[in-house]
Amino acid sequence: MYDVAVIGAGIIGAFIVRELSRYDLNIVLIEKDTDIANGTTKANSAIIHAGYDAKPGTLKAKLNLKGNPMFDKVCQELDVPLKRIGSLVIATNEEEMESVKELYKRGIENGIPDIKILDGEEVREKEENISEEVIGALYAPTAAIVSPWELAVALAENAADNGAKIRLESKVTDIEKIEDGYRLSLGSEAIDTKYVINCAGVYAAEINEMVSSKDFEIYPRRGQYNILDKSAGNIIKHVIFQAPTKLGKGTLVTPTVHGNLLVGPDAEDIDDKEDTATTSDRIHMIRQVSKKITTKIPFYTTITSFSGLRARPSTEDFIIEEASQAKGFINVAGIESPGLSAAPAIAEYTIDILKEIIGNLEEKQDFNPTRRPVIRFMELDDEKKSELIKKDSRYGRIICRCENITEGEIVDAINRHGGARTVDAVKRRARPGMGRCQGGFCGPRVMEILARELGKDIKEIVKDSSDSYILTGETKQNQA
C-alpha cells in the first residue's frame, strides 16, 4: 500500500511528488497520458509572474508572491533553464496608463519587490522594437521565463531518483474508500493508498466527485499561441503584457527560455476538455492584437501554433484543501494563472495540509535534491565536445539538424527515470523536432532510436497519445 498517490503529472503534481519524496513515504505519481507534463503544462505562456496581478488576499496572490523567488534554487538543483528577464505591462493611452497604475498599486499591496512605473522613453530604452504608441509601462524585474514541461519532467525524475514511483498511461477510472485509505482503479488494475492528492487539472472535479460531492467545478478555457523561429527571438527582451482594458487582457509577447518568440494567448471558454485545436480566426486575432506591442514580429517565421486549456475554477481562486466528504483526500484544483508561478509554494502549502492530517513527517537522510545534469551538446565548448564524444561516441552523431541535437542526448532523455516513451516526449526533453523542420528529417531517426532503446518494433512507436500511431504497416503488402 502506498502512503500517498498523486493524481496528475502536470507541473503541480510533479512539484508535489518531488516535495513528498523528501520524506520517508511510499509515493506514486499517476498519469493518464503517455508522458509527464502532457496537458496544460506543455501549452501555456511559460512565465513566472512577478505577482502584481492577483487580487490581494487570495491564495493566488499569496502563493504567487511566495512561489516566484523559489524557482532559482529548484531550477539550479534540477538543471532546468530559467531566465529572470523581467516583465512590462505597456500602456498606449491614458486609460490604459490608469490601469497600469492600478496594477502598480495592487503590486505594492501584494508585496511585490522592485516594481516601478516607466515612461515611454524608459520603455524604449529597454525595448528598441516596442510600438511607437507606448506611453508607459509597469516594470517588474522579478518576472521570469522557464520551460514548464522540462521543469515538470525534471521534478518527476528527481522524485523517482528519490524513490517515488511513476505510472504513466494509468487513467484513474474509479476511486473506492477502503478501510485505511482509498483504492484507485486504473483500468484493469487497482492500487491502494492511504492518502490521495488530486492534481488532475481540467479533470480535477471529476476525480473529486469519485469520493465526494460536487465541491467545485473546473471549466476549460482555451488559449492559442504562435511560436516563432529563433531568428525572431531577439525582437523583444522582456515578457510584455498589454494593459488590461474593458475589452480584455490582450495578448503577450515574450522570448522563450530557448530563444524562440511566443505570441498569445487569447481566452475562449469551451466545453470539450480535450479540444486543443487551433482556429484560424483566433490565430489571426492574436497576431493582430500583438501589433499593439510591436509591429516588428515576422510571423512568416512561425514554426507552429498550439493551444492549451486553462483549468478555470468555479470559485475563482485556487482550491487547495481536503475534500468535504473524504478524509485524507486533498484537492489541488483550479490552478489557472498564476499557477506555474505559484507551483513551488502550492506544493509546500499542500504538504502542510498533509502534515496536519498525518501528523509530522519524517525527512529522509539520503534525499538528493539534485538531478544528474542534462548534457546540452551545443552549449559545450569545443574541448568539452571533444572529450564527451571520446567518452561516448553517440554524442558524435547529430540527429536533429535544426538544433544540432545528438543521439547521446536523445538516448539520455529516454533512459532517465520518467524518461521519454514517445516522439513528442523526446522532443519536449531534448528538442529534436522543435526547430524549423519540425521533425521532417529527424522524426524517422528519433523513432528508430526509441524503438531500439525501448526494445519495441518501430511500428509501435507513437507520436504522443497511446493511439497516435505513426506508421500503418509495411510496404509490399499487395502480393500476387
Partner: protein, 117 residues
C-alpha cells in the same frame, strides 16, 4: 465515337489534345507539333509506362531496394507487375542494373535494380 481528351507530355508546353478514331484512322487535334500527334495515338492505342518501385532486400543498409522496369510496359499491367515485385525478397549485395525479375509477366521487359546495395 467521342474524342478522347488528354494532356500531351512530350514537352513542357502541355497541350490539351483530342484524339478521335474514325473508320480505323486516328485523328489528333489541338496538338501543336507532330510529336504530339504520335503521343496522342500511342496513348490511345497502347499507353506504356516505366514502373519504378521497391523490392524487399535482406542484409542490406536499408529494408528496400529501388527497382524499375528497364523499358516501359503496358500501362494496364502496372498493378499486376507490382504484385509480382511485392512478393519477392532478395539478398544483398546487388549491383545497379542487375536483373531482379526477368521478362515480367511476359512483357519482354526485365525489372532491374536501380542502385547497388
Amino acid at each position: 465515337m467521342k474524342a478522347k481528351e488528354m494532356i500531351c507530355i512530350v514537352c513542357p508546353l502541355g497541350c490539351h489534345i483530342k484524339v478521335l478514331k474514325n473508320d480505323g484512322v486516328y485523328n489528333v487535334t489541338e496538338n501543336k507539333c507532330l510529336r504530339g500527334k504520335e503521343y496522342g495515338i500511342k496513348e490511345l492505342t497502347n499507353p506504356i509506362r516505366v514502373l519504378t518501385t521497391t523490392v524487399k532486400i535482406k542484409d542490406a543498409l536499408l529494408n528496400r531496394l529501388p527497382v524499375k522496369t528497364k523499358e516501359a510496359i503496358p500501362k494496364h499491367k502496372v498493378i499486376k507487375c507490382m504484385e509480382v515485385i511485392n512478393s519477392i525478397e532478395i539478398k544483398s549485395p546487388i549491383s545497379v542494373g542487375e536483373v531482379i525479375v526477368e521478362n515480367i509477366l511476359g512483357t519482354g521487359v526485365d525489372v532491374v535494380a536501380s542502385r547497388s546495395m
